[in-house]
Each structure stands twice: as C-alpha cells, then as structure tokens.
Symmetry: C2
Subunit: 124 residues, 2 copies
DNA sequence: CGGTTGTTGAGAATCGGTTATCAATCGGAC
DNA sequence: GTCCGATTGATAACCGATTCTCAACAACCG
C-alpha cells in the first residue's frame, strides 16, 4: 500500500486547483486550512513534493521569494510578481523569440519570464 | 571621513569588472582573493552592499541560487543559468513585446528573463 | 470492527545565504 | 610619524525556507 487518500491531501490539491495564481506553501496552508482544519505546514511541504513528483503540480520559482506551486498542464505562460504585496500572478502569453538569444554551444531547455511591478490593488 | 580606498574593495570591484558574467559573493571571493589574499566573505558582502547603494553594481537575482552581481550601466540584457554547474551567463538582447503581457490595472516596472539549460562546458 | 502501516502535526533541526560582533588593523589627514 | 576612525576577518548569530523526528492518528484491507 502506498499513497493514501487523506482529507489533507485532497484539501491541498483542491486549494491549488481553485487558486488563479501560483501559491507558496504558506499560502496553500492558509487556503487549504479552511478545508482541512488543523492542517500543518509540514504536511503541505510533503504533499507538494509528492505532487511535483507525480507530475500534477508545477513549481514556479521567483527570485527573492519562496517557491510557488500551480497545477501542471497549463499552457505556456509567465508570471508577474508584485513588489507591493509579494503576490505572484499568472500572465498570458510569451514574447517568443527566445531561442535566438541562446549563446552558441549552449543547450536551451526552458525559460522563465518574470514581470515586476505593482498589482492592481497595490497600484491604486 | 567615509569611504576609504582599500585594497580589498579595489580587488572586489576589479574582479566584478573583469568577469564576463554576474558573480555570486562566493565567486567574487574566489576571484578577488587572488588580488587581495586573505580576503573574507564578510568584506565581500559589505563591499557589494555599498556598491549597489552607490550605484556602480547591479544585483541579479536568479531563482534557486544566491544573488549575483555585475557592473551597473550595461545595456539591457538577460541571463542564462546552467543547470549543470550553476553558473549564470549573460545573454545579449531581449525578445521585447513585454508590455502587452501586463494585466490591465497592473504597473509594469521591470522584467527579468532567465534561460535555463546547459552551458557550453556542461553540454559537451 | 481490528490490525497494519502510511500519514499527520508540532516543534526541533537543518540549510544556504546573509548580517552582526569585536578586537586587530589600516588609510589618510595633519 | 601620529592619531582617530573607518575597515577588516573570523566566527557566531540570524533569517526564512524546508526537512526531520516521533508519537498519535487515520485510511484501507480483510
């Protein structure tokens, strides 16, 4: 037996699914905590690690802040990090034209574009 | 009196200037250590903070690794982070077309594009 | 239901990065 | 050369993020 179906993991998966932006472990705890009272941070970290391994969760790394997680399988997109509140939002599209930038001899595997600025709330 | 001209700070400034890629504090220590034997990591951190404050050093943040520093005033460019050796390289150009991606109501101040993959050495 | 065993929660421990401490030292004005 | 205050280096302390520990607990099979 391996991989049980627990309330905590369901709550965590559901919280990430409902969010419209990538969540940090602490944000997941806050969101999933209402679905599974008493939820602990360690459990979030464990579930998140499992999710990434199993492939239904994608890690989003933003400079200068904790790793965020979002459901895997979304179409290619990027992120906007608010300097006011620290939240990370999803932005549609990609400027493309990335490949030509790669130096000769280098192997390009992936890329991450992060926009910095103020979100709607903080810009007001 | 404030801001003395010391061998250590000259060595650090020189090491950053000579590098063709942004260096982490530890990398700066290694490089500048040959110019100023006995150099300590604390001194690197202090000098780097001063450099950023005075405006002749620019901080480059890459997800999942220490902050890098490069001379300020370079023309707009981006970076390539090698998954093999962890080094960060400079890449010329920018795909442009960033502004249209910004969600309505958000204020775009800056952006950072990081390419991931293998550098020439690690790709061989 | 009852046992087996994976899972959980709280807190301690750890980690890499960065900053603070403090006595010894050095820069540079005089 | 002297002197005073800025600077340095070694190391401890700190920090936020993440992982480990371990006893209590709950999921699932029979």
């Amino acid at each position: 037996m391996s991989e049980r179906q627990t309330q905590q993991r369901q709550a965590i998966r559901e919280a990430v699914r409902r969010a419209d932006r990538p969540l940090s472990p602490q944000e997941i705890l806050d969101a999933a905590g209402t679905l599974a009272p008493g939820l602990g941070l360690a459990t979030v970290y464990r579930a998140v690690k499992i999710g990434v391994t199993e492939g239904w969760l994608a890690a989003v790394e933003v400079p200068g802040s904790a790793t965020r997680y979002e459901p895997a399988g979304k179409h290619h997109h990027h992120h906007f990090a608010c300097r006011g509140c620290g939240s990370v939002y999803e932005v549609e599209g990609c400027p493309g034209n990335i490949t030509p930038l790669t130096p000769a001899g280098f192997k390009l595997e992936d890329h991450e574009l992060v926009l910095f600025g103020l979100c709607r709330s903080c810009n007001a």
